[in-house]
């Protein structure tokens, strides 16, 4: 390989990602069971340890949350600092709790506006733990993606409020749901933008009529609704611009060296390219590195299959950072194990020099 080609070759680690100071949004995604949570937690830990003056937030958008299990401590819908790391917080979005909060707020607002909070219908819809309405809306397909998106909107709002406070967090890392859900989440800015445009057009044409209805009772304030929609639209546009800016947002694909996972990764990368989203890092997990003296025939056979695909991946994703991570003997859970594991996202893993990692993880949970 010539020097020029060597310069173009991307390093097989995430050093560039971790040391970058421009990223605001880092998505970690891939097929189910490939190690997204482990990788996203590892990236978050590396960011926090290598940049102690910055604050990071790791959000799980997967309805089947695993962050609490990965770190060995409970996280909820509010950002909570990780024990042992002052500049890293975690959050698991809970749709039913978030909807209950929204419901409580709307009931309180209704009371302020003079509405009848004690009516039987109100009790049915809003009473108890969020009521029937919260239960119904909590099970709508796509509600998790919508609530995650609302979380993003909250942070965007904080950033843009006269830039006084700015956002509490410098970078937000998303531990995403398996591929399909994530793609749906990433389409939300475009979909919402179109929806708001259509709705804006409608309110312009029927707005005066709606205003007259509003005058008859306590209800619709079209002007207030319009200004809120305008604000929402602006924020959605900001998000869309930020998500498509390669200096602000990037997507880290996680996969294993098997056909189905690689095929899904390829599909994911093509979709992300169509959304103009930056993808330049691929983490290949669960590699056996069973060369030479390995006595396990199964491991050797499996490693042979993995090597075959690794060769193809090197050829297909020439200009990507391809990070090869080993399959460890123990589970990568708890802060200590994650710290050990995450080092090799920053420094390349050498299967010969660093083989102690495989058997060094503690499993005393």
């Amino acid at each position: 390989m010539s020097d020029f080609e060597e310069d173009l070759q991307a390093e097989p680690n995430l050093k560039e990602l971790i040391t970058s100071d421009t990223y605001k949004w880092i998505f970690v995604g891939g097929k189910g069971g490939v190690g997204k949570t482990t990788t996203s937690s590892s990236i978050a830990i590396q960011l926090a340890t290598k940049n102690p003056n910055k604050n990071y937030l790791l959000i799980s958008t997967d309805p089947a949350h695993n962050l609490s299990d990965a770190f060995g401590e409970k996280f909820g819908k509010d950002a909570k600092k990780v024990s042992g790391l002052d500049n890293l917080s975690c959050m698991e979005i809970d749709p039913s709790a978030a909807l209950k909060d929204m419901n409580d707020m709307s009931v309180a607002k209704q009371g302020e506006a003079g509405g009848d909070q004690d009516s039987p219908l109100n009790g049915l819809l809003n009473g108890g733990n969020g009521g029937m309405l919260a239960e119904l809306t909590g099970s709508i397909p796509g509600i998790d993606e919508a609530l995650s998106f609302m979380e993003v909107l909250k942070h965007i709002k904080k950033q843009s409020v006269d830039n006084k406070e700015g956002s509490e967090f410098d970078t937000i890392i998303f531990d995403t749901a398996p591929t399909g859900h994530t793609l749906r989440f990433l389409q939300l800015p475009t979909t919402l933008s179109k929806l708001l445009d259509t709705f804006g057009g409608l309110t312009k044409s029927i707005g005066p009529m709606m205003n007259s209805f509003g005058g008859l009772g306590k209800g619709l304030d079209i002007n207030a609704m319009n200004s809120q929609m305008e604000e929402l639209k602006n924020n959605v546009e900001i998000i869309r611009d930020q998500f498509t800016d390669p200096s602000l947002t990037t997507f880290v694909c996680v996969c294993i060296s098997e056909f189905l996972s690689l095929y899904e990764t390829e599909r994911l990368i093509q979709e992300l390219n169509s959304y103009d989203m930056d993808v330049c890092n691929i983490v290949i997990n669960q590699l056996l590195f069973a060369d030479g003296d390995d006595e396990c025939k199964r491991c050797v056979a499996r490693w042979k299959m993995q090597k075959k695909y690794l060769g193809e991946i090197d050829d297909l994703y020439e200009y990507y950072h391809l990070v090869k991570m080993p399959l460890c003997a123990g589970e990568v859970r708890g802060l200590d194990n994650l710290k050990k594991f995450s080092e090799y996202l920053y420094n390349d893993y050498d299967p010969v020099a660093d083989k102690d990692l495989v058997f060094s993880l503690k499993n005393d949970f």
Binding site: F259, L262, Y263, E266, Q270, E312, I313, L316
Partner: protein, 229 residues
């Protein structure tokens, strides 16, 4: 214009209109003359051919054994699909514009002249009842008038009768409202012609002459009944 010449002209337009509706002659000629989608169709055909070649090559290799090559071919196929979709959109737009133009020309070159001539010469008599003894005085008077003035002309007779009655002009309006000689006018002829042709088309389009297969169990029962007999 002589009524025979009018009839020949109208029948020509009528036949051309029916043939055009059925075979799209005008659209075909227009598309050939304008030729604005030829380049895109050629590009689409080439892409289609490339797609088939690449698909054939891809189907000949194992995705698991040659994953890299298979994926590169897949990427080419995705690219071709994207370009084909774009070309299809362009083609649809051109075809839509062509269709609108064809409809416009059809209206001004066939439909409106036909309708205009039919309305202008609609009451020209082609056949007088009195000249043919066999059919003279066979039809009721009202029907004879209808064959002369057409369906829309018939209510007009009653309106004129009414006005004449109100004016009390001694029946001058009545006699003026009816035609002195009755017969079959061009308007009525074409009305009947169109109705008959439309009915014939309906009969051929509905499955009147198609063979209906008897259900098996009915055939079996029939055989059993014959055997018993």
């Amino acid at each position: 214009m002589d009524s025979n010449h009018i009839l020949i002209l109208l029948i020509t337009l009528f036949i051309f209109q029916k043939l055009n509706n059925h075979f799209g002659i005008f659209a075909f000629v227009f598309t050939k003359l304008v030729n604005n989608n030829n380049k895109i169709q050629k590009q689409a055909a080439k892409l289609n051919s490339d797609y088939k070649k690449i698909k054939l090559e891809q189907d000949g290799i194992s995705a698991q054994d040659q994953y890299g090559k298979w994926t590169k071919l897949n990427r080419k196929l995705d690219e071709i699909e994207k370009q084909t979709k774009k070309l299809k959109t362009q083609l649809d737009e051109i075809n839509k514009a062509n269709k609108a133009n064809v409809a416009k020309y059809e209206k001004f070159l066939i439909k409106f002249p036909f309708m205009g001539l039919k309305m202008w010469y609609g009451k020209t008599l082609l056949l007088e009842f009195e000249s043919i003894k066999v059919i003279s005085n066979v039809l009721p008077y009202t029907l004879e008038q209808m064959c002369t003035v057409g369906i829309t002309g018939l209510p007009l007779i009653f309106i004129k009768k009414g006005i004449s009655f109100i004016r009390n002009d001694g029946g001058k309006g009545i006699s003026a409202s009816t035609k002195p000689s009755t017969g079959v006018s061009i308007g009525i002829l074409f009305y009947c012609l169109e109705s008959v042709i439309s009915e014939l088309f309906n009969i051929f389009n509905s499955n009147v002459f198609s063979k209906i297969e008897f259900p098996e169990h009915a055939v079996k029962e029939e055989f059993e009944r014959h055997d018993l007999d």
